[in-house]
Amino acid sequence: MIIIGNTRISDDYFILECKDSQPLPCIKPGQFAHIKVEGNPSVYLRRPFSIHDCNYEKNTISFLIKIVGNGSATLSQLKENEVVSIVYPLGNGFSDEVAAEGKSLLIGGGVGIAPIFFLAKELKRNKCDYDVLLGGKKVSDLLCYSQLKQFCSVFCTTEDGSEGTRGFVTDHEIMRNISRYDRIFCCGPTPMMKAVGKKACDNGIFCEVSLENKMACGFGVCLCCVTPTNDGNRCVCTDGPVFNINELKW
């Protein structure tokens, strides 16, 4: 694919937009891509990233990436017109088809907002009823906040109180009345997803979370990215990355 945009949105985050010469396959929110990192000898394996947005008319997909190590730092330097090898779409997305009825709550924490934004757009397009809850350490971690506000109802929490409710997403008042939602879709740091999952479990609410384990292959052959489930160790790349919390041994 060809890089058609690389936009730094803060010190830690950037958005990479890539164009395929072929028509895009059908992509579901929650699916991911495996990107080859060129030009850094300390990076050997591909890096998996959630698909953040896609445009079937322009044949483009984009990634919202947090700079955490050598791989993401190298990708942040990509320039327009550079060619990157991307294997996509991989894994299973959120069960967005079940969102047609009732009301859904979409929860994104930090860079976990990347697939949640894509899901929010898809649910909007399908005229589903839903709210979004974003969480971050500080206001600059509330990625896509202003974009989301333009088309859906968004709540937020920050740990430092710089925007919305102070604390974690589970401290937000809408979580106290969680039973008004029929289901939760969540992506964020593991402790956040565990806390949200517990809340959903306690209230008998359908809840899907998107996991982020270290991967080598990305398509189910190396068996490195496993997570313990009721059915033994299963691959996050091919059996997930989206799992129903009832499947997970959390």
């Binding site: 050997y44 090898s85 270290k214 080598a216 068996l223 033994g232």
Partner: protein, 302 residues
């Protein structure tokens, strides 16, 4: 017309490029990327007698030009192989080779006996070199006596081509190769992964749950090549080269060192078409160097 065909003790490979066990699933996972039947052989993920859940996550660490894994032979056991895997892999139009592992001589023999019955399993590769299991695996492959003993026990129940996969974590890989050949091996494949480890300097903890794991990828290629060269000089049976092979040039190096065929492993994770790309590159190399028969390259080191 270039001839890419090679022979491993009666087993005809349409070309010398195969896949390394554990890096290619059961083959069909790669069918989205290319027609896997174009390869000389597909070596399946290891099968054990009983289901194994493998080691806890994290099982993998990236290293300079390679990776460490400690998957621990996760697989659903030989019964599942018979009911769910074999019916799919038997349709590949190439050699399908089972990788057999276990925790005791009896469990290796049990799996080998079962594999012997499957018409479309062309050969087995005996895994006495996995560094990531507490019992069995590499412990059989580090001493000539136990390597010979387990090979001859499997030889008694297995009629087709028997390949034994060797560990590099020994003082003399030639001694182990000679021992398994005495035990009845038709060919040897080498090398499995090198034992290694990685430490997270922030937490001061090992990166992988089992502390140590097996290093693979281009980082190990020079050592693997040296071992293949040593073994190929010393033994009369075919040698299959493994270890960091990623490109056609790597394939040619291993053939020149004396390998009759090769297995491409970790490279499949980074480039799912690594095997077929190497095959196309090998054809081009032969054309460029006016080589009509790939067998001219085997042991062709000057």
């Amino acid at each position: 017309m270039t001839n890419l065909e090679v022979n491993i003790h009666g087993l005809t490979l349409k070309n010398p490029i195969m896949t390394a066990s554990g890096t290619f699933g059961n083959g069909y996972e790669y069918s989205d990327f290319f027609d896997v039947s174009c390869l000389g052989g597909i070596i399946l993920k290891a099968t054990t007698a009983e289901k194994r859940d493998g080691n806890p996550y994290p099982r993998m660490a990236e290293t300079a030009n390679g990776m460490i894994n400690a998957v621990g032979l996760q697989n659903k056991g030989v019964d599942f192989f018979e009911t769910d895997i074999y019916p799919k892999v038997k349709y590949f139009n190439t050699n399908v080779i089972a990788n057999v592992a276990g925790s005791s001589i009896e469990s290796y023999v049990e799996v080998a006996r079962r594999m012997n019955r499957f018409e479309h399993i062309a050969a087995i590769e005996l895994n006495i070199s996995c560094p990531n299991v507490k019992q069995g695996g590499m412990s059989f492959g580090t001493k000539p006596e136990s390597a010979r003993e387990i090979t001859s026990a499997v030889r008694e129940v297995y009629d087709k081509t028997l390949i034994v996969k060797l560990t590099p974590n020994v003082t003399s890989v030639v001694d182990i190769a000679e021992a398994v050949i005495e035990g009845g091996a038709d060919a040897v494949s080498l090398v499995n992964t090198f034992m290694g480890m990685a430490i997270d300097v922030e937490t001061r903890k090992p990166v992988i749950s089992t502390i140590t794991g097996g290093v693979s990828g281009p980082a190990i290629k020079p050592m693997a090549l040296r071992m293949v060269w040593q073994v190929a000089k010393a033994v009369k049976v075919p040698v299959i080269g493994i270890g960091g092979i990623s490109t056609a040039e790597d394939v040619v190096e291993f053939l020149l060192a004396g390998a009759t065929a090769v297995e491409i492993g970790t490279a499949n994770f980074i480039n799912p078409r690594a095997t077929v790309d190497a095959l196309e590159g090998l054809r081009k190399y032969m054309a460029d160097h006016k080589i009509n028969d790939v067998k001219e390259l085997i042991g062709g080191l000057l």
